[in-house]
Amino acid sequence: MKTTHFFNSKRFVLLLRNDLLRNYRTMLVSAGAVAALYFVITLPPIFFSRGSTSPDFHLGLYPALLFIGGFILSSSAFSEIHHSQKNTSFFMLPASIFEKMVSKLLLTTIGYVPASILLYYLLTVTTSGIAAIFTGWSFPAFNPFNREILLSVAIYLVTQSMFLFGGLYFKNHPLMKTLFSQFAITFVLSIFAFLVVRIVYRDFFHGMRFIDEFMFNDMVSFEHLGKNLATIFKYLFWICFAPYFWILSYLRLGETEV
């Protein structure tokens, strides 16, 4: 297979432009909705409560908007493949499955994140202006380079891959179904993990309960195990989670029929 069958930079730029320009009206409407929500949350405290807003205010609100908006966007990125008329147009467009996948991925990650930061920044500047004019007190500035904000962005970039796959896999209500699936899988894995621990450390259990004196005696080894497990999960999350769902999404897109 030739490389151009898989990826061609000129074609990819065309596709990216196509995806962006076809959807910019939807994006503007979404940005408007986010702005309205932002003002509903931020303006009443300015006018009705006396005292300044906490500097940590943005550490809660921006990640919330980033995750909610991003997951909605990622879940609906492939909505056209579930549409009986749009799907033909999508699959017949002369671009590779890889390019179509990466285009959506880029728009929902490195396209969405800077756009959301810029939008949020502009909203905070507006709010600051309103606060200064009408109440005379200052509204905390948004610092997108704050460590916690950057960590939220990084977590979003990893977790959105699951919603992108959910959007491909589920025809209707992909966001809710992805969330439910995630809860169901986590629940099943938790039970499985508990049963494994129960079998491997059977001497530390009485029925389904830990025997406390054993626990205290072996606290050091349990701590060690806990740290190791945490490290393993950390690496799995940061390195494997997103690529796993990207590969699944690519394969799913390739085998989707119309």
Binding site: K2, T4, H5, N8, R11, L14, R17, N18, L21, R22, R25, H83, S84, Q85, K86, N87, T88, S89, F91, M92, L93, P94, A95, S96, I97, E99, G254, E255, E257, V258
Partner: protein
């Protein structure tokens, strides 16, 4: 060229629609794909486009495997389905976004087609009528200069002058290395356009003949009395008697109504099959 060999296809939890289907489609022709409702015409077109994957057998389209959905293949195929979608863009915006994907797109020809079809250039595609949208997509498809143009019920929604313009444009756009496949129930709209004719029934290609062969091998006549069932290939009641299709035993070629031919093939598959294989 399109070649299908022993192709088997079934929708999920349903019996096979095609079982070991064989079909060859050659360059330089406008094929008419006919069949009853549910015969599998649209499914066959989707398999050719790589929108559906066969479970068994091979399908080669312009020397590509369509299930690979390779861009080099997709830029040589333009498919206009029966249920069409146009994004909320103006014609000029659509051109900017979609034409660059087709390396041989001819903007000048597109302009002429738009003019011929009398389409408004500055309106949004979503504001156009169904027929206008279809004409726009036909114009775009022709201007791509792709090697395979597939049209599913293209004349649905077209007004009378547009049908005539459609036939003229399509006939003029055919070249030696191009294949046009038209699937339709409106055979009268494309009567003088299609050649050869493929008829699908029960998941099989039961007829695949050129107009020339059909005219040489079949004769049509009008008679006042009802013919015996075994005396002719097919007959149906008409004003003033019966129109009869029979084996052409004379030298002269006859012009055959495609609707009549379709009914004859569907109702007398065995004898029609024998006639065309015997004399092939």
């Amino acid at each position: 060229m399109i070649k299908m060999t022993d192709l088997t296809f079934a929708y999920k939890n349903k019996p096979p629609l095609f079982s070991e289907l064989n079909l060859q489609i050659s360059d330089g022709n406008i094929y008419g794909l006919l069949g009853k409702n549910g015969a599998g015409k649209t499914t066959l077109l989707k398999i050719i486009c790589g929108l559906l994957f066969p479970q068994k057998g091979t399908c080669s389209v312009l020397a590509f495997a369509p299930s690979g959905r390779i861009p080099e293949m997709l830029q040589e195929i333009y498919f206009i389905p029966e249920e069409i979608y146009t994004p909320p863009l103006k014609i000029s915006e659509y051109l900017k976004l979609y034409a660059p994907f087709y390396p041989r797109f001819d903007h000048q020809s597109f302009g002429q087609y738009i003019k011929t079809f009398d389409l408004p250039r500055n309106d949004r595609l979503t504001s156009l009528s169904y027929g206008q949208k279809k004409k726009f997509l036909v114009a775009f498809g022709l201007a791509t200069n792709c090697r395979l143009l597939i049209l599913d019920e293209p004349t649905n929604g077209l007004d009378i002058p547009s049908k005539s313009q459609f036939r003229k444009l399509l006939a003029a756009s055919l070249s030696e290395d191009r294949i046009i496949i038209i699937s339709t129930h409106q055979v009268r709209d494309i009567g003088n356009l299609i050649d050869p004719i493929i008829i699908l029934d029960g998941g099989n290609v039961i007829f695949n003949q050129s107009i020339d062969d059909i005219s040489r091998k079949l004769a049509v006549r009008l008679q006042k009395t009802e013919p015996g069932k075994d005396d002719v290939l097919y007959s149906e009641k008409t004003l003033g008697g019966y129109v009869v299709i029979d084996e052409n035993r004379g030298e002269s070629e006859s012009n055959l109504d495609i609707e009549l031919l379709f009914n004859a093939v569907i109702n007398n598959q065995q004898r029609m099959g024998e006639l065309f294989t015997r004399e092939a």
